[in-house]
Each structure stands twice: as structure tokens, then as C-alpha cells.
């Protein structure tokens, strides 16, 4: 608490200097995060250096007349800094900025959605935030590349430049269902996300009927595919419906191993239909298996 009280008092005291007066402290106007550098001082005796920056404060005892050395780890958070050198009743002030290192070291990559149907244009979005090794957002433009590889190995590539630390791209989903890899790269740093490309709506639903045990009719679909030939995932609900003499029987059956299979009461003359979601399949007039 005491050091913060000192700093507050110092900043209040030196605020006129900070606002308008050029300082005797010769800090560079722009310091790249992680740079090793030193600042010369003049005079003699002991002094205390305070450096106030984003979310941290440095306090260091220095000997006037010698250079003050800064290691790579001392000033690594990007942002505006104020340096105050106090000795007795006198103080010297400098302002400078620490900027992000231009070398990308980490990417935050937001790929959305993580699951989408095949064959959609501009449906996959990738957003990249570029950071240096200290976690500073690199505001200078960076060349980014994006690559979406589907389960068959087919690739789509896009290049983009980052603006104010962020770059983005939109890409199409592929024609083949499966797990696609979405990679973003800046210099030699890359980040990968997984996009699940899933089949679209069933294209056609064909069912067949044959007599079952007792007075039952067995209904079974052919493998259900989307319009790109991808098998519709297991668990997808297929609805069978049978109408006969003013009564109706229905059953919602999940696809298992690509097909839906069920039994309904066998009524010769009954009309049996099949659908999945909003897609209708074929219709059968059941003749009792004759």
C-alpha cells in the first residue's frame, strides 16, 4: 500500500512535467516489448526510479551518472509508460510506449461453427487474433493464411492480412461429410481447429414393406443419403405412417447403421408413407404381401 501511496504522490507532483515539460530522462519514445536497452543518467548520488505501466509498477534504486539497464523481461507489456526518477526533492520524468514485438508467437483462433452441413457457401468463419510471445496484441499488419482440409484431404486456402491485430476469413463447407481441419497460420505459428461437416437433408427416402410375424408388416428403408451421397447420420428420425379405414398408425424410428426399420399393423389396402423432417419419401399401398 505504501508504494502505491508514494507513486500516487509522485504522479501528482510530476503531472505538470508529464503534461508539458520535456524530461531529462532519455527513454526511447518507442520500446519493442522484450527489448534489452539502457537509459543514461546524469548527476551523482542515489536515486529511485519508478516506472508506471499497464497493470504494473517497477521500483528500482539507481546510481546517478550510470546507465539504467533493462532486461527483456522488465518491460514486456505493451502500452503507455511513465518513468519518474526521484532524488531528494528533484525528479525527472519521461514518457514512452512499449509496443508489441512484431514476431507472432501465439494465435487465438475462433472457428465457427464447429458443426455444419456440407455444401454451404461462406458458412465457415475463422477469426485470428495475433499475439507476440508476451501476449501483446500485434497491431501491425500480419500476413495470415487459412486452410480448410476436408476428410478426403481436399483443401481450400485463403490469405488475409490482419488489421489492428485481427484477421478473418469466410470459407465454404466441403461436399464430403466428416471431420475437417481448419488451420490458421501467421509466420511460423499455427493453430488448428476441427470442423465437423455433417450430411445435409436426406435427398430421397425409399422404403420397402414385407410381411412380418403375426399381423404385422415390416418396413425398412434403403440407406438414407443426402444429395451429395453422404450417409445421413445414425439417430436421425424417420417417420413411418400407415392409414387404414379411418385409423392411423405412426412410429418415429432412428436410423441405425444407415437404415430405419420398424413394424406396423398389417392391413391389406393400407397406405404407408415415410418422411424425415420436412423431406417426404415414397408411399406404398400395402397388399398384404401377396
Amino acid at each position: 500500500m505504501r508504494i502505491w501511496a508514494h507513486i500516487l504522490a509522485l504522479l501528482t507532483a510530476v503531472s505538470p512535467f508529464v503534461a508539458g515539460q520535456s524530461s531529462e530522462l532519455q527513454f526511447p519514445q518507442r520500446v519493442v516489448a522484450g527489448t534489452v536497452f539502457s537509459v543514461p543518467t546524469s548527476g551523482s548520488g542515489e536515486a529511485t526510479l519508478y516506472i508506471v505501466g499497464p497493470s504494473r509498477v517497477l521500483q528500482r534504486k539507481v546510481r546517478l551518472g550510470e546507465s539504467i539497464a533493462f532486461s527483456a523481461e522488465d518491460l514486456h507489456l505493451a502500452g503507455p509508460y511513465v518513468a519518474v526518477l526521484t532524488s531528494g526533492s528533484s525528479s525527472r520524468v519521461a514518457q514512452f510506449n512499449v509496443v508489441a514485438s512484431p514476431a507472432p508467437a501465439k494465435l487465438s483462433f475462433l472457428a465457427k461453427p464447429s458443426r455444419l452441413p456440407v455444401n454451404l457457401s461462406n458458412a465457415v468463419s475463422g477469426v485470428v487474433y495475433v499475439f507476440d510471445r508476451f501476449g501483446n496484441l500485434i497491431l501491425e499488419p500480419q500476413q495470415l493464411s487459412f486452410e480448410l482440409t476436408d476428410s478426403t484431404g481436399r483443401k481450400q486456402s485463403h490469405a488475409a492480412a490482419s488489421h489492428n491485430g485481427v484477421g478473418w476469413v469466410r470459407m465454404n463447407s466441403g461436399a464430403k461429410a466428416g471431420t475437417a481441419t481448419f488451420a490458421a497460420r501467421a509466420a511460423d505459428v499455427h493453430e488448428t481447429r476441427v470442423i465437423q461437416q455433417v450430411p445435409g437433408e436426406p435427398c430421397t427416402i425409399r422404403m420397402a414393406a414385407h410381411p412380418g410375424r403375426g399381423q404385422r408388416v415390416v418396413l425398412e428403408t434403403q440407406p438414407v443419403l443426402d444429395c451429395s451421397g453422404n450417409p445421413v447420420p445414425d439417430g436421425t428420425i424417420v417417420s413411418f405412417s400407415e392409414s387404414f379405414a379411418g385409423t392411423q398408425s405412426t412410429v418415429d424410428v432412428p436410423l441405425k447403421r444407415g437404415i430405419a426399420k420398424t413394424e406396423l399393423p398389417s392391413h391389406p389396402g393400407a397406405v404407408i408413407s415415410v418422411a424425415s423432417g420436412v423431406v417426404m419419401g415414397n408411399e406404398i399401398r400395402w397388399n398384404g404381401g401377396l
Binding site: 472457428a111 464447429s114 412410429v251 423432417g277
Partner: protein, 375 residues
Amino acid sequence: MSGRLLALLLALATIALIVAGTLWPGASGLGAADAQARLMGSASGPQGTVHDLLQRIAGHDWSAAYNSLANKSEFSEAEFTRDLTGNYGSLRTYASLAGYDIQPLRASSDEAQVKAILRWASVVGTFQDTRDLRVVKSGERWQVVWPVVKEAKVPPQVIPVNYLRWDVIYRGAEDDWGAQDVEAPHVRIVAMHPVDRGGGVVILGEVLNEDVVPAFVTVKASLLNGKGVALANEDSFDKISHILLPKQVSPFRIDFSGVRLSQVDSVRIQPSATLVAASADPVIGIESQKLIPVPDSSLTGELVNQSGQIVNVAHVIGTFYDNSGQIVWVADGYPNRALLPETPVRFSIPLPADVSGKVSNYRVVATTYSSSHFQ
């Protein structure tokens, strides 16, 4: 003078009734229906005998009820109890007799026919159980011939099932903020129709899970006036099948009381879906669906559990369409018995009489609850 005498008589009568009520309180506690039933016959007659039996049932005095029956040799006390309380943790198991009506159908000196309408209170509302009871005189005593409904039993067996289930792993708290999470399922409202009904507005509709993963779905609606201000907000609560498998469609109904359709300028519908672990089983066939015309307007049918898993409670929701394909009503019902594999269980969905005439098509979905897991 006559006025004073009348006041004195009334005061005496009141005191006498209070004393009688304190000394001989009502034995049942089944409410007005019970009082009505009590008035319909003396304890020694056929209706009184039925009344006594139902009192014992209401008091869970199964042994006394069973021992009073004329045909107890035809079934065991356990079968009688199972008939009334159900089995396999069904809706009936957790219900209690809330009231009953007794209607004499015909009577002779040694035999009578009585209709008993039993109203059972359950967690999802009241359901009725109607029994036509034969009452016979044996010596000086009337006894009820109980039409026992023997609960179906499935023989011990192993039923192979290709079990299909989805499990979900969400992102962890320690993951980077840019790390992916599993995508919420995509659901879509495919039909919506507001109607003015019973002094309120009812929103009827259907929601489709158009994704390839299961979804837990809720539908919220806001009624907006001409200035875009919400007049009321409600959600579908239990008039929806909350868990939708891929490409499954559920009806929904949202009831708003105290708002007229003429006050409403627009409706804002907000379906929301959460990815949940779910199972594709059990599969329930909904067979022999039939519209029953007025006065008993309803949709009846049978549920057939096509899987090996016992379903404790089933919920059926019907969507009713007019001849132009417009939804005219959504209603639901709960069969009170458990669904055993390949064993049909009847259900009935009540339909308002004025809606019944408009219905030209319908669609029913079934949701199931099993004690082993929720589906």
C-alpha cells in the same frame, strides 16, 4: 313471538349439527364427489356397497377391499392391488384416488350394475378410470364383482438392442478463450398459429430439430402490441416434447391468459436448444389412432413399446390440422400404465368439442420417461 321461536329453533338445529359433526366426522375426505356418492345409496344397497369399496381403495386398505369382493377367488390380492396401483413405476403407482362418481345403471333384487368413475390425482393432473361394476347379493349382503384388469407381464428374457446414444464433452474452464466449444443444436419453428380461445391467446406450432445431434428444446413467446411492447411472456412448459432427436418434429402449445388476440400486433417466438446427452431408444409405435366424435371428442390409440426397455411414464402430444393444413389445436395425454415391450397400452387425448369438427388430419408424438434414465 313466532319469529323468536324460529330463531330459537335455528339456533338449536345449528348446535345439534355442530355436535353431530364433531362426534361423527366424515369418514372419507374425498370431497364433493364423495358426498354426492354417499347420497346415492345406503350402505346396505348396491351403491352403498360400491361406495364402501371405493372408500377402502381411497384409504389404501387393499386387504379389506379385496376381502369384500364377490369374485376374489378369480385373482390374488396382489393382482387386485396391481390393477389399482399399477406396476413398474407407472403414473398410476404414484396416484391417489381423489374422488369418484357412482352411477346406477340397472338393478334387480339380487343383482345391480353400477358405473364407477374414479378420478386419480397424479403429478401431471387427474386421470379417470371408469369401471362397470356388477354388484351381487349373496345372502343378506351385497358384494362387488371387480372387473380386474390384469397387468401384462413380460416373461424374463434378454432383448438385444443396437443401442444408440449421444454423449457430450463440453469445453473446460481452463481452455483458452479462443478454443472451440460444441455447437448448440439448430432448431427451427416450422409452423405457428395464434388463436383466441377461452379469454386468452393460445400459440400453436411445431418445432423441428434440423441438426444431427439431439436437442433439449424450449419455446418462449412474447405477445407484442402495436408499439412493440410485450403484453405477456410465456413458454411451452409441458405442451412440447422437450428432447428432439435429429430431424424430429414436436408440436408446442403456449397458453396466455387475460390477453385478447385483438390486442396483439405481433408475436415473437424464441426457440432455444441445448445440446444434451440422449438416447435414440426406446422406439414407440403409436397405433390404431382414431378420432372419436362429440360428445366424447378425443383421439384414441395404442402405444406399443418396440424396444426392450420398460417405459414407466409416456406422454403423448397430438397436433390437429384443418383441411388446409393449418394447426387448429395441440393437446396431450398421459397413459397411466407402464409400457412393457411389445405390449399395447391405450391412450386418449381429449379434444375440445368445437375443435373436433374442424380436424381433418392429425399427428401424434410420444415422449417417454424411464426410471433408468430420462429420454
